[in-house]
């Protein structure tokens, strides 16, 4: 009881000190103090409520509750200070450890200077093996219960490019006679309709061209899912389930960290890999080399070679979304 009261007193002192300190200028400080106020409310509420659980649950449970409160009242990732980013990542790592009993590493690697990611898909080479789909699921910690997948491989009839006249749930031996295969995922549009429509700014385009989602800021209205002309966004209709042993511990805040029910997610070109210079999991998994990934701003990159030397097309050019995903063939 006394420790709790001491903690409450400390919270009050901290709040008082921060709210009365002279702020040089700007909205960030205002937002900070607002957030401080929320944090104070959280501290007070948790400490007061702690009376009920503390005796039976002990300290770690208390800390978990505190971390969850902090998580609930944290800000949008884009507006966080470096310290706030560090704090939330530390909390998320701790919570993940409690949840799956394993250590995870969550990065917040920013975009590299002079990099704009682009992707090319060789419809002449894809054979429909779907190795990319499975690799993507494993890499990005998607819900195993419903088998969420960012990638769709469409089996298209020769003679036309008509998605409606194609199938994605084929299970016969591939490649099938008279068909070719076309894969879709998030095209990381340069002009993404999904970003505009988000009412809370929970999704945005990073400087390296990757459209990301702040899973903890998303309110789950699914307007972006309706707005995407490429059906690239996925919603967590249920609490995502994944066996602790299968969790990919190499994570990024804006990428494959563990999600929760009721929020959107999407392909990020494996931001946890690509920002380290590695290829996305789908590129790595492709057994036929049908997937090309690279830096559009590097004139010597493979992706630039494809765009400059092959005949390419993009899906739904008429919508003006300017996808950074090109199809080509040999």
């Amino acid at each position: 009881m006394t420790t709790r009261r001491r903690r409450l007193a400390r919270a009050v002192r901290r709040f008082w000190r921060r709210s009365t300190r002279t702020t040089p200028s700007g909205a960030v400080d205002k937002a900070m103090s607002r957030r401080e106020a929320l944090r104070f409310a959280r501290d007070a509420a948790t400490i007061a409520a702690g009376a009920a659980v503390a005796t039976s649950a002990g300290c770690s449970r208390d800390e978990e509750t505190l971390a969850k409160w902090d998580e609930h009242f944290k800000g949008n990732f884009r507006l966080m200070t470096d310290r706030e980013k560090r704090e939330t990542i530390e909390r998320l790592e701790r919570l993940a450890r409690t949840k799956i009993g394993r250590k995870v590493h969550i990065k917040s690697t920013p975009a590299k200077e002079g990099v704009l990611y682009g992707y090319a898909f060789n419809i002449g080479k894809c054979k429909g093996y779907r190795s990319c789909v499975e690799a993507c699921k494993k890499e990005n910690n998607q819900d195993r219960r419903t088998d969420m997948a960012y990638i769709r491989i469409f089996e298209m009839k020769n003679g036309k490019v008509d998605l409606e006249d194609s199938t994605a749930d084929f299970s016969h031996t591939v490649p099938a006679e008279g068909h070719f295969y076309l894969g879709t995922q998030c095209f990381q549009c340069a002009n993404p309709p999904c970003v505009d429509v988000c009412p809370v700014g929970a999704t945005w385009q990073e400087p390296d061209g990757i459209t990301v989602v702040d899973y903890d800021w998303c309110i789950g209205c699914r307007y972006c899912e309706a707005a995407c002309p490429y059906w690239a966004r996925r919603f967590n209709w249920n609490e995502p389930e994944i066996a602790p042993a299968e969790v990919n511990a190499n994570q990024h805040y804006l990428g494959n960290r563990l999600r929760k029910k009721g929020v959107m997610e999407k392909c990020t070109f494996c931001i946890q890999r690509s920002r380290e210079g590695r290829n996305p999991a789908c590129v790595e998994a492709c057994p036929t080399g049908a997937r090309v990934f690279g830096n559009l701003l590097d004139p010597n990159s493979e992706i630039r070679y494809v765009i400059e030397n092959k005949k390419v097309f993009r899906l739904k050019e008429d919508l003006g979304t300017d996808p950074k995903f090109w199809y080509y063939m040999d």
Binding site: R145, G277, N300, E308, D322, D330
Partner: protein, 216 residues
Amino acid sequence: MIARRWLAVAALPAVLAACGAADTDDAATPSSIAMSLETDATELRALRGVPRVAVEGIVGPGGRPFFTTARLPHMTQGRCGLCHVRPLDPAPAATGQEAIVRTMHVDIPSRHAPPTTMNCRTCHDGNDLERLRLNDGSTVGFDHAYRLCVQCHFQQGRDWAGGAHGKRLAGWLGVRVVENCTACHDPHAPRFAPRAPEGTPRIPRTIRNTHPGGRR
């Protein structure tokens, strides 16, 4: 945020325009961006320990040298010279070759081209079966098999050097190591084998629709 997005939108046509310029004005292309990323110097951890050879006679985009994966460490029947102590018959009859392959090399398919077009000696050096023979009579080791392939498959060779064909290992940044032709294609049967696809998407993906191969 919006401003940044528009910046990206504006940047894309510029990139594409620059692509066109790159052909004629190679020296002026700003490779400084690439330099700042240490494209040439960086080596991703995933590449460490990958046996590789520097590609000979072919350069990548921008005249850059690159690496390809070594073939020899992956060969299951490498030491041909152990049996083939004498040179091969200089001009075997098509049927003769068939017979030899059927009896001595039943495990080696022969589905690259009809025997009227290719026979063993088209690629293997008859005098030294540890080497591959190029059209001009010179020979290369198995690690440089790509040099043999691109003689006929010059279009694929060009795309392989450029990056539209084949597969780059590990990452988009740093040392460029691409798979050798023979890493993906069996030289004796280069076409990819048909097989069952992995997994089956559920359409729609719901907690109720848990049967594989959902309805369409």
